[in-house]
Subunit: 665 residues, 2 copies
Amino acid sequence: VCAELYWEGGEEKQKQKHPFHICCCFALCHRPPKLREISWLLFVFFSSDIEISRAQSPKAVDVLAKEIGLLTDEVEIYGQTKAKVRLSLLERLKDQPDGKYVLVAGITPTPLGEGKSTVTIGLVQALTAHLNINSFACLRQPSQGPTFGVKGGAAGGGYAQVIPMEEFNLHLTGDIHAITAANNLLAAAIDARILHENTQSDKALYNRLVPVVNGVRGFSAIQLARLRRLGISKTDPGSLTEEEIHKFARLDIDPSTITWQRVVDTNDRFLRKITVGQANTEKGFVRQAQFDIAVASEIMAILALTTSLQDMKERLGKMVVANDKKGEPVTAEDLGVTGALAVLMKDAIKPTLMQTLEGTPVFVHAGPFANIAHGNSSVLADKIALKLVGEKGFVVTEAGFGADIGMEKFFNIKCRASGLIPSVVVLVATVRALKMHGGGPNVTAGAPLKKEYTEENLQLVADGCCNLQKQIQITQLFGVPVVVALNVFKTDSPAEIDLVCKIAKQSGAFDAVPCDHWSAGGRGAVKLAQAVEKAANQKNSFKYLYSLELPIVEKIRIIAQKVYGAQDIELSPAAQSQVDRYTRQGFGNLPICMAKTHLSLSHQPERKGVPTGFILPISDVRASIGAGFIYPLVGTMSTMPGLPTRPCFYDIDLDPITEQVKGLF
Amino acid sequence: VCAELYWEGGEEKQKQKHPFHICCCFALCHRPPKLREISWLLFVFFSSDIEISRAQSPKAVDVLAKEIGLLTDEVEIYGQTKAKVRLSLLERLKDQPDGKYVLVAGITPTPLGEGKSTVTIGLVQALTAHLNINSFACLRQPSQGPTFGVKGGAAGGGYAQVIPMEEFNLHLTGDIHAITAANNLLAAAIDARILHENTQSDKALYNRLVPVVNGVRGFSAIQLARLRRLGISKTDPGSLTEEEIHKFARLDIDPSTITWQRVVDTNDRFLRKITVGQANTEKGFVRQAQFDIAVASEIMAILALTTSLQDMKERLGKMVVANDKKGEPVTAEDLGVTGALAVLMKDAIKPTLMQTLEGTPVFVHAGPFANIAHGNSSVLADKIALKLVGEKGFVVTEAGFGADIGMEKFFNIKCRASGLIPSVVVLVATVRALKMHGGGPNVTAGAPLKKEYTEENLQLVADGCCNLQKQIQITQLFGVPVVVALNVFKTDSPAEIDLVCKIAKQSGAFDAVPCDHWSAGGRGAVKLAQAVEKAANQKNSFKYLYSLELPIVEKIRIIAQKVYGAQDIELSPAAQSQVDRYTRQGFGNLPICMAKTHLSLSHQPERKGVPTGFILPISDVRASIGAGFIYPLVGTMSTMPGLPTRPCFYDIDLDPITEQVKGLF
């Protein structure tokens, strides 16, 4: 591996100046890379992702920002390597045509992941540096939980990564922290409100909610809005009748219906189920609750789907946190907290600009869960990037999990929210995952790979290509051309590689190419870039899979049958009752966000290849009304990872002299 | 008030260029203030703190950074108005003499606070703009909890505030979020470790803690350090005896002794007492726990006291989180998490540069609780500022609560950690608080003030000056000259003001002056600045109050008797047993951080003036070993505020068009 890294990657580590606006940035200083040739050979023999990241000094982010055409007051610098980009840019460039929009999805993966992020980064590196085409990668911000838990970081890897990877994997520009703060303020407001309503008369409650301040008594703006929703057109607090006071002052939340959970960005398994309110000051109003990992917050899903500050504020206000005792939804707006949530999120809405190892621009923005949410990075980052690259440029983004989940949601949820039309899907496959689908032994994180995966086995590959074929067919349901990217490992044989590419093309892929971006950076993805460029010029007949007007159950059935290959679906009584409730509450025409395992096309992770004849069980149905989707649960979904016996943090360290981070990967 | 603001403050709102290095920054663009004269009259009639803040555009922080002599690579810009300053500056300026070091403390306050922050800011504005002396304010970062809860923001107020106040009061540069992340990673590690130890044999545990990776088995650096602490000098994992494996792999934490709590930066009363671990995956290992507000984390106290990255890392590792079943302390280092904590805190250690309304530089850095911690901003910010202002310059910082608590801890804990010698104490008093001490009626947040406080009453003032006199005497225990700053309200009569100043001087103050900085900015604190400058040239015989070598109980008694005026102290059996334990564990020679109410010199908040004859009850004794202090609890201390019926957030809003924040105060 090390030798390969050297021979194939060594000569490629030149930082690329981005071709954007190339003629108007002559004056910019292009700092040479700091790689010292003499130590290079030594270096590659010991290189890890973070060492590769550290060996390449990123160009100053203000230089990058100028290269890609950002104006000074559209950029907020955060240190040397990160910047937030203001949304005002969308107004300035509103008449500029969008670039091409490429989604990177994958076949059903092994638990190790098949390299969608590295393909995304390798592809933009190839487009930019080798085809001289403006391009931009849009990625999700990773949760800090897994960084210190089992999985490690998520900046890509090898010679296809975002640098500095420790910035990418740690606090970044604070967006996840802002989400945590907003999420938990709302959670605290819910329980405190229930307590205050339970311990005060209507009159006392009203007097506190609408106090006399400096001799004057008035409703705040958010209280006036609530009065209007209640059909009360009065504005003088003294003029409300007792009944109106009762309606106004009591949200009457039914504690058993609370769906809003607290969050932390830490893998803290002991918070999966807790009892809160046990101090005497809470007067016995205990209840069972839970913490989720921060990225599972609905506010993260909103950040990913919102299109403007106004839209985000409206979505935050619409979030349903519980039902009242009559079964009507109670929202963040009812709790009076919309404005405060928007204030907490005012900077998080701006995408963060970083760069790849080769200097290509990257937006890192939002990272919602791919099961209970839609698992895609932000609409706003994509929109801004599509303007910045210009009509002939490319924006490459990725969807979580396999194409059956991440891509389906990308099309039906994210593209619906943005109105953007994707040009090409890149479907990432590995010989390893295909062998697993062909009947190879289990692949488990942490355990060494069995020999089936390290030695040539054409039969397993051929048998496993059924999953690739099925995922190609799923892509075609949406009318978008698909290019298969085979992410090559050093143990893959030429015959295995050829076989996959041949079957992929026979299965309807526009093209299928092997990629070596991990070991060779952009140069290893040139063929992929060429194929993607050609595919983007194909006829595109993009369409959604279902109409929003269909009943909730119908929409679930369409996804289950057409995408997963299920024979039918089966709703539990709880799920059916939730469907009825949401339909009655007027939420029936939202898109569907399936919470299903990513390890199989079916709901059973052990069923590899292309399972058939199964009935997809829907155990429960929930809703993220602010984000704007209904999410049926197919089995139980963990929303809080745990720490193993030996978490990643054992290897993570900081050198107090050089300030360098060690042990992140 | 409004008219006063106009006439006394209107002409003063010119941004000041800082006198630092004034001759070497001719070339810098000095942007004119954006106050529009025509709308000014209208403006002041409706002005709130945030409106005043918003009406003054701060100068760009890179301009400010250059003015005060920072080099480009010593500054990390965060947007337009905030920057982090690198610690490398301390090395560059190590041979430069420090400036004068001024502490702002206060008399025993009313629950409304008496304006230490505004005095701090007014004083540096006066020194800089009116006396042409380099000066710097060093302030605490406020918790976001109170901003959305009851108290509101903490940026100072009126014409003595830090701008933009919404940045100051919200995420700032993410330090509190970093503390939350680090604190909660450690908390998750504790519970997960107990679970894994309880459900695995020694051998299984050891195999997981020291796994074979790519055919090689080795200890990580932090595991080798643990082996050394256990007296095992082996480095080959295969060579440990069964007994050594047992010692190495088991921390044997006694769950009943866990003192490490989870934190959130939200006023969430329902987390004051909770039960964790109730999901099936945690196999019945439930326990009672709590969340504290983030600023109560020991990591915040460490951030405030640390002197370098190396020192911070050592302190983080030394934090004691529980005892093992033999009664020995278990540390973060034992849990293998020191490096990860340091990585999470690597940016938080850099102070954040902002500015006052008049353009004076401000460091905002750390904000530990003033009861269970020491309530002072960071040592590092003070050290850097003392170098930046130069020998003749002034650094003004403040201590939480009254002088009996905040100042006592500033001297005995913070100055011990930093080695810095304070030059002057400014003791802030108000006629309002003095009247309360003289026997005036209760002062309660939210309720209108009684007429005793709005009409002249010389008798109440005279009687209440006993508290001022006592706090002056406390200051003199430390050998530092004290200047009394009377923070003038519009209802204070000239006779009342004169009386306070006269008594203050008779009581041993070097000087006593009325201040109008709230309504007049720096101009309102010129006399104070002159008095402080004179006092700083007085003979200074600074000394600590007690020797660290004394037994814990003796140190507590000295503080109780000499500072609070107690007759004696009385330890509960629990407190005595903790004292014995800490002494046995080798922590007996740490300084003492009293957790006492700030509303009285005694432990009883209702006893105003100068209580005597009381026995101070010590209900429990705890320790923050990483921060480096023992904290005796005098009564119960709430470490988690709650939300009232109508929290501040009802008034907080974001204008989605202008992006302006409304309703913060």
